[in-house]
């Protein structure tokens, strides 16, 4: 830790690292959004991983060690994997080359450009105040303490949120029997799949619920 700190605070090194990570993050983000070579979502997802990882590097430069780890674990480890999984599952091929809506493109670039311009002007006009010597350390212990004292209520609420998300995901991905609804709802195609009632899902949800609320 000591050596890492000294490395991060070495002015020249940290400056170099900042520009390295920042450039890498932005380039990868740009390639997620608009890759001139491929319109395959898999490529976008892979560049998103890289952008996330280099952002974790920026977090390290900012002494947010816990968040850097969480960033890699949650984003690179879970979110992106989920994305890739879905892309593979759905066998989504390249984005079809459709007629590009020139007006939309123009409006999009213009509005985004305006927002960036506005931001930089804001930043320029009202300079942000920063403490003379940044000394805060984003280590696990102090974050945990804050999380369980001042922010304990939102923390508990987040557990409810995760429970809801879990229930929702399980419900949405369970397959239903072809049931009475087909008559009463419009646009219904005959349900695909075999009998797998949502009843069987509930044990999972409830155990998951209890683990979540305990965690």
């Amino acid at each position: 830790m000591e050596s890492l700190n000294s490395l991060l605070d070495g002015t020249v090194v940290s400056t170099c690292l900042f520009y390295l990570f920042a450039t890498f993050t932005l380039v990868c983000a740009a390639l997620v959004v608009a890759n001139p070579f491929s319109r395959n979502p898999v490529t976008s997802a892979m560049f998103l991983v890289l952008a996330i990882i280099s952002m974790a590097g920026l977090f390290l430069l900012l002494h947010a060690f816990f968040l850097a780890a969480v960033q890699i674990l949650v984003y690179a480890g879970a979110v992106i994997v989920l994305f890739l999984f879905v892309i593979m599952l759905l066998e989504i091929k390249e984005e079809l080359r459709r007629r590009i809506n020139l007006f939309g493109l123009f409006a999009g670039i213009l509005s985004v450009g305006l927002i960036v311009r506005l931001f930089l002007a804001c930043l320029h006009q009202s300079p942000v105040t920063s403490a003379a010597n940044p000394s805060i350390e984003g280590d696990t212990a102090s974050l945990g303490k804050l999380l369980f004292t001042q922010f304990v209520l939102p923390f508990e609420l987040v557990s409810v949120l995760l429970l809801v998300a879990m229930v929702g995901v399980i419900y949405l991905s369970s397959k239903d029997s072809k049931s009475r609804i087909s008559a009463s709802s419009s646009g219904t195609e005959p349900g695909v799949g075999k009998e797998s009632s949502a009843v069987s899902q509930s044990p999972n949800t409830s155990t998951a619920a209890s683990t979540q609320t305990k965690h």
Binding site: A29, P41, L58, H63, I92, G104, G113, E189
Partner: protein
Amino acid sequence: MNVGLEQFLTVSFLLFALGLLGVIMRRNLLVIYMSLELMLNAANLALVSFSRFNNKLDGQVVVFFIITVAAAEVAVGLALIVALFRKRPTAHVEDLATLKL
């Protein structure tokens, strides 16, 4: 030259703008969703850098919450996209045309 808050914030702004551009321009639902993740991450970066340079830890706690909520949102969102894909195999926003005037 030392790296200060301004530099970090500029990176964050640009990241946010890139994400927004992706949401506006791309037509693939999954890529749009990835761009949204970029925008959330831009906010995270801004929060962490403010936290560092203002010597306040609150911001990092907020980032923690954002990451958690974003993970939940991604899970639900992807489940929705999969469910929709089962009904109609497309991931294009322009194909979401059942609900029109």
